[in-house]
């Protein structure tokens, strides 16, 4: 699952990291839309040529390359099967474009998730009028994932010590083996949830209808610039798509 790394926040200090998450979200959506508008090789390559320097600016190129390596099997799969099975007039061309589109889509969103801290994300959601409770639930999920994972390992060890053989037997038995892990995990989690609720309650969670925030996000000039440029690109590509007949830029096979 190493290709998922590209959607994980990395602590860095870069121009891209400092941008407002809302601006970055807009940028990511625009570049995703643009990569969905075209299914020709050249425009998709152009999109990637624009996105990769942004990754470099975010100091995350290495991570991106590593993820792409992890993804390469899937990409090869798409390439081979589409070439063999596609009804398109020149299938190789079509499948290369599909592969590039997937890479472009992943890169657009990875640029967002790599550079937005979960806290910033929930703050952005709150300032986009999402209710605090929902945004907070999301950031809490992030908070407790590692804790739950640790607990799951502890339960696994405890059950192994009692003689449960987790990695033996046929697939059906292995699935049944999950039961002695999942049941205690659920019980422990419910208890934990109660104790977390107690602690949150004691600190006034949900008490005031006018909750304040320590760090509010504010749009700066550079954020407006990002939004403006993204919008311009979006309008331009829509115009090109609709009114300028594209030449056949495809490979000759």
């Amino acid at each position: 699952m190493s290709f998922l790394e590209v959607f994980q926040y990395t602590r860095q200090d870069s121009i891209i990291h400092r941008l407002d998450p809302r601006a970055k979200l807009f940028m990511a959506i625009v570049s995703a839309i643009v990569s969905l508008i075209f299914l020709e090789i050249l425009p998709l390559v152009i999109i990637l040529v624009i996105l990769i320097p942004l990754l470099v600016a975010a100091k995350s190129l290495k991570r991106w390359l590593r993820s792409m390596k992890g993804l390469s099997i899937l990409l090869a799969f798409i390439l081979v099967f589409n070439t063999l099975l596609s009804p398109a007039p020149n299938p190789l061309n079509h499948s290369i474009a599909l592969t590039l589109r997937l890479i472009a889509l992943m890169t657009s969103f990875s640029l967002f998730f790599l550079t937005v801290h979960p806290d910033e994300l929930s703050q952005a959601l709150i300032q986009m009028r999402v209710r605090f409770e929902f945004a907070f639930a999301m950031s809490m999920a992030m908070r407790y994932v590692p804790t739950l994972a640790q607990e799951a390992y502890a339960i696994m060890d405890a059950q192994k010590a009692r003689g449960v053989e987790l990695d033996k037997g046929n697939p059906l038995k292995r699935i049944r083996n999950i039961v002695p892990i999942i049941v205690p995990l659920i019980i422990v989690s419910i208890r934990r949830a109660l104790s977390i609720a107690e602690s949150m309650e004691s600190r006034g969670f949900g008490a005031s209808p006018h909750r304040t925030y320590l760090n509010r996000l504010s749009f700066k000039k550079r954020d407006w610039a990002v939004v403006f440029i993204s919008l311009l690109i979006l309008l331009m590509t829509i115009y090109i798509r609709l009114f300028i007949p594209l030449q056949v830029w495809s490979l000759p096979f």
Partner: protein, 278 residues
């Protein structure tokens, strides 16, 4: 007027078949450092929950009697209203940390109550320097040790500026060194005029700083007085309280006819008393 007053208070959790607290009468004044101790299941945790209104507002059940905290009856005020009066620190540090970094954690309480962001920032900075959390500022709770987590939990409780700090076995999951640090912080807070109520088993570490020990057993308060009075009682050993070693030595010396001038609570005190007597 006392800060906390239990008036014949009894409580039974919904669905339980015994009373968690039985006719508890207790008054605690401002500035006291009260240690509550007793065997597990004796109602210490319920007592703590009662002080900030979690019982009966969050944990429902059968109630009799009243608890008045800073002039407010806990039956009539929400936990959030009580939050600026009594702050609770719980046993499990990781269940108290609900955000992704220390700054946010400390800010969580005041933000909930709608405190002005400038003031929130001021409190965050103050508590970070008071509890020495600078190096943890941006860390995820999962990257901290238990002792560090508990320090952050204390900071986030103090951010609401409560008059009373109630700590329910804050050290039970910590190694001895972190435990000592946490207990040290708590006794320093008491010296800065905070009323402290601490549930603790390691009496050898805390009884020298405390002004009072309350002994509980099966939902009742069975003894209440200064540490030196309580710890020499035979009752302590009967219900299984961890009496400090120095006090035990004092007791067995007395049994053999050697009466020291006062009751020692630490090894150092004992050594001095023995030197004087010799």
């Amino acid at each position: 007027m006392p800060l906390i007053e239990f008036q014949d208070f009894s409580f039974k959790y919904y669905g339980a078949d015994f009373l968690a607290l039985k006719k508890v009468n207790l008054t605690i004044n401002e500035g006291e450092y009260v240690i509550i101790t007793g065997p597990s299941g004796c109602g210490k945790t319920t007592l703590c929950r009662t002080i900030n209104g979690l019982v009966p507002q969050f944990h429902r059940g059968y109630i009799a009697g009243n608890v008045i905290v800073d002039g407010m009856n806990t039956r009539e005020h929400t936990v959030a209203e009580m939050a600026t009066i009594a702050g609770l620190v719980f046993q499990q540090p990781e269940n108290q940390l609900v955000t992704l970094n220390v700054e946010k954690e400390i800010a969580f309480g005041p933000e909930n109550l709608g405190v002005d962001p400038v003031e929130v920032r001021r409190r965050v900075e103050e508590l970070i320097s008071l509890l020495d959390l600078e190096h943890l500022r941006d860390k995820h709770p999962h990257e901290m040790s238990g002792g560090e987590q508990q320090r952050v939990a204390i900071a986030s409780t103090l951010a609401l500026k409560p008059k009373i700090l109630v700590a329910d076995e804050p050290t039970s999951n910590l190694d001895p060194k972190s435990a000592e640090l946490i207990l040290d912080i708590i006794s320093k807070l008491n010296k800065r005029d905070m009323t402290v109520i601490l549930v603790e088993h390691r009496l050898d570490l805390v009884s020298k700083d405390a002004s009072r020990i309350v002994l509980m057993d099966r939902g009742r308060i069975v003894a209440d007085g200064s540490p030196r009075e309580i710890l020499v009682m035979d009752l302590c050993q009967e219900i299984g309280v961890g009496v400090p070693k120095a006090t035990l030595v004092y007791k067995s010396l007395r049994k053999r006819g050697i009466d020291l001038e006062s009751v020692p609570l630490t090894g150092e005190e004992l050594a001095n008393l023995v030197k004087e007597a010799a």
